[in-house]
């Protein structure tokens, strides 16, 4: 039991950190530009595929830096030549644009890399166990992923709170026009933030690709969950996104790990549910993919501004 709890907690935190790496970029973009970037998970997927292809020539570590840089540049181009053009037509047009972009990127990935998963794996020396607990190994790579995520959060915090650019970004979040009046180039700032957010997503892809699977469906599986994180955490709140990421990561991992059915749960609470009926038979593991969406609906009904959000979306 203890083994289960510890490993589920470790894996849940790991998954939650990955989610936060994705959702932090999305939240920054949303709170600055008011655009919910539907293609965000597609940039995550591009990160994994770029790292796979680059890694064949340069090895894992250079790819870890290069792939996010490339995807970030791509994101900046998308903002400059696509989104900025559509911006004049309002928010619906922007959402439609990113939706179409996600569609096209998914198809391009299938065209270039094929429809089945590619063999993108961490270097073999990282598959060795970092430590062994209750006879189960915890690989070095998982430790490295946690380390990279934490380093990234420190870097993000430093960038936003301690640098001049971060000050401009924070100012533009709430007083975009004023920042423009003060002589800063706000459109260029937008482009930078969009590219930066895409680069963060790509970084999540580079380290998430070997953990999960690098296949054309990876954007569609994670994309909706990232939106849930952003809404549950509160639109535009980085802190909220952090807590929501960890919450959803732990929730999903524990639901997968616990071997019980709905009947077990309800009967333990005193209800009387037929363990062989259609509802009672459903195991918690099959419910796991639904948990983020159940949470989303509950949050939107009972606390529409999210965990830490200040405004209703």
């Amino acid at each position: 039991m203890l083994e289960l709890v510890i490993f589920s907690a470790l894996n849940g935190v790991l998954y939650g950190l990955l989610l936060f790496m994705l959702s932090s970029g999305l939240t920054l973009i949303f709170s600055m530009m008011g655009v919910l970037n539907f293609a965000h998970a597609s940039f995550y997927m591009l990160g994994a595929y770029f790292a796979y292809t680059l890694g064949m020539y340069t090895g894992f570590w250079p790819a870890l830096i290069l792939a996010p840089l490339l995807v970030g540049a791509l994101g900046a181009l998308v903002e400059r030549f696509g989104l900025r053009r559509v911006h004049a037509n309002g928010h619906v047009a922007e959402l439609l644009f990113t939706f179409g972009l996600a569609y096209v990127i998914d198809e391009l990935v299938q065209m270039i890399w094929g429809t089945v998963a590619v063999a993108y794996r961490e270097p073999s020396y990282m598959r060795e166990p970092l430590f062994t607990l209750f006879g189960t190994d915890y690989s070095i790579f998982r430790g490295v992923v946690i380390l990279i995520s934490i380093l990234m959060f420190i870097a993000l915090w430093y960038l936003l709170k301690k640098t001049r650019v971060g000050m401009m970004i924070r100012a533009a979040l709430t007083h975009g026009e004023m920042v423009g009046h003060l002589g800063h180039n706000v459109p260029r700032l937008f482009m930078g933030v969009f590219g930066f957010g895409c680069a963060l997503a790509a970084l999540a892809g580079v380290i998430g690709g070997p953990l999960l699977a690098t296949e054309p469906g990876m954007a569609a599986t994670l994309g909706p969950i990232v939106f849930v994180v952003v809404v549950v955490g509160g639109m535009g709140s980085l802190q909220g996104a952090f807590y929501a990421s960890l919450l959803i990561g732990l929730l999903q991992t524990f639901f997968v790990a616990i071997n019980a059915s709905l009947a077990d749960v309800f009967n333990a609470l005193g209800a009387n549910l037929d363990p062989y009926g259609e509802v009672g038979r459903i195991s918690l593991a099959t419910l796991a993919p639904m948990t983020p969406f159940i949470l989303l609906v509950l949050i939107l009904i009972f606390r529409p501004r999210g965990l830490m959000g200040e405004l209703e979306p």
Partner: protein
């Protein structure tokens, strides 16, 4: 929030005039005459049936987005659940007519779209209230969550949804009306044609009701609507129900047409299709989604015969329309019509034609580029075919063609823009 792309075109209209009837007569005549052209061609009828279903689906979606200003990513929930309800009703008819008694033994399969409509409306009635508080991003996100949740639940209750394989029925059961056996797709065509016409007319009539007018108001200025005594949430809720009901009607048509329904029909992919069709056709014109449904369905089914990248092309067309023609194909048609009426067509035509030429060249260039890339990545020995011309990715000529077409297209586009500026 500015809603330029979905604001309707201005057009003054007299209340009662025979001219208003013309489009409906043309529409009905087209539906009646189409079978004459395609008689005996069962693939054509299959395609026509899909188009009919998609027209109703896209129009019902546009009730939300185009008329109500609510961007939904979960519209397939109503389509799919309506389809499931109709399928279960069809199974009930099958069993009841076998026994020869009971209510369902007297219900014709032709009425299944009504079952779907009731189911879709009920689902929207039960689920809709908490969703309609806000339009905009919150609504988009919550419908996305709803869609994912219902699609996941579809896998979870096999007795209702049939698991991965879905459930299937038989449409040749129960009482036969109008001598329609529904055996072949040409028979089903009459069923689809009737319901398409009825649904399109009903949805058009809806835009003329006070509620239809209020739905435009809640899109354009919810605060003001609140001031004059209509809570926006109630209005949104009613539009949501109406749109869900018509989505369910399309689902009922699909149940009879395909005779099978799987939980996939509830998910994000069909929801995205509705959005795609409506946006390609144009959100601000009533008939826009009809145009979009026809074009997207034709592209989906015909392109796949010629190329493996058909979905990519559909996506690129969608992206191009969002970026360069935000009013969609229907908006373009409307623009030409207005120019025709104002007598400015001759003056504007050169600009439009050269713009079309530029777009055409860029499109052909992109198509060659995509096909050449496809040839490389898939390592085929075959040449990439584009409009009957073979291109070889190994030789330079194909790539040169791409560059020439794209550059020439760009230059013509620039010249066109200057020409248009000169006119204004």
């Amino acid at each position: 929030m500015s809603q330029d792309i979905i604001a309707p075109m201005q057009r003054p209209k007299s209340r009662t005039s025979l001219r208003g009837l013309v489009p409906w007569v043309v529409f009905a005549a087209a539906l009646l005459l189409l079978p004459v052209f395609f008689s005996g061609n069962s693939t054509a009828f299959t395609l026509l049936n899909v188009i009919g279903i998609n027209i109703v689906f896209a129009l019902s979606y546009n009730m939300l987005l185009g008329q109500g200003g609510m961007l939904s990513f979960g519209h397939a929930v109503f389509f799919g659940l309506g389809s499931y309800a109709a399928m279960h009703a069809m199974i009930a008819i099958d069993e009841a007519s076998y026994a020869g008694e009971g209510f369902w033994a007297h219900v014709p399969v032709l009425g299944m779209p009504l079952v779907g409509m009731i189911a879709g409306g009920l689902v929207a009635l039960v689920l809709g209230w908490p969703f309609c508080r806000r339009a905009g991003t919150a609504f988009a996100m919550i419908t996305l969550g709803l869609g994912e949740m219902v699609a996941a639940a579809g896998q979870m209750f096999p007795s209702l949804f049939g698991g991965e394989a879905g459930i299937y029925g038989n449409r040749m059961v129960g009482p036969q009306w109008f001598g329609l056996e529904l055996a072949q797709s040409s028979d089903v065509y009459w069923f689809i044609a009737f319901w398409t016409f009825a649904a399109v007319f009903a949805m058009w009539a809806f835009t003329r009701t006070p509620l239809g007018r209020l739905s435009n108001a809640v899109r354009d200025n919810p605060d003001r609507l609140q001031f004059i005594g209509y809570p926006p949430r109630n209005v949104r809720f009613m539009i949501f129900i109406a749109s869900g009901a018509f989505g369910g009607l399309a689902g009922g048509m699909a149940a009879v047409n395909y005779e099978i329904i799987t939980p996939e029909a509830l998910g994000l992919i069909p929801s995205g299709l509705a959005l795609l069709m409506a946006a390609v056709g144009g959100l601000g014109v009533f008939y826009g989604p009809i145009v979009g449904a026809v074009v997207v369905t034709l592209m989906n089914s015909m392109l796949s015969d010629y190329t493996d990248a058909s979905i990519l092309y559909v996506g690129l067309v969608f992206l191009a329309i969002v970026m360069f023609a935000p009013r969609g194909l229907g908006g373009g048609i409307e623009q030409v019509r207005v120019a025709w009426r104002e007598g400015e067509l001759g003056q504007r035509l050169p600009g439009w034609l050269s713009g079309a030429l530029a777009v055409g060249m860029i499109i052909v260039g992109l198509v060659v580029l995509v096909e050449l890339t496809f040839q490389i990545t898939h390592g085929d020995d075959e040449f990439a075919h584009v409009f009957g011309v073979d291109f070889d990715a190994a030789s330079l000529w194909g790539w040169l063609t791409v560059v020439v077409l794209l550059v020439a297209g760009g230059l013509i586009k620039r010249a066109t823009n200057k020409l248009r500026e000169g006119q204004e």
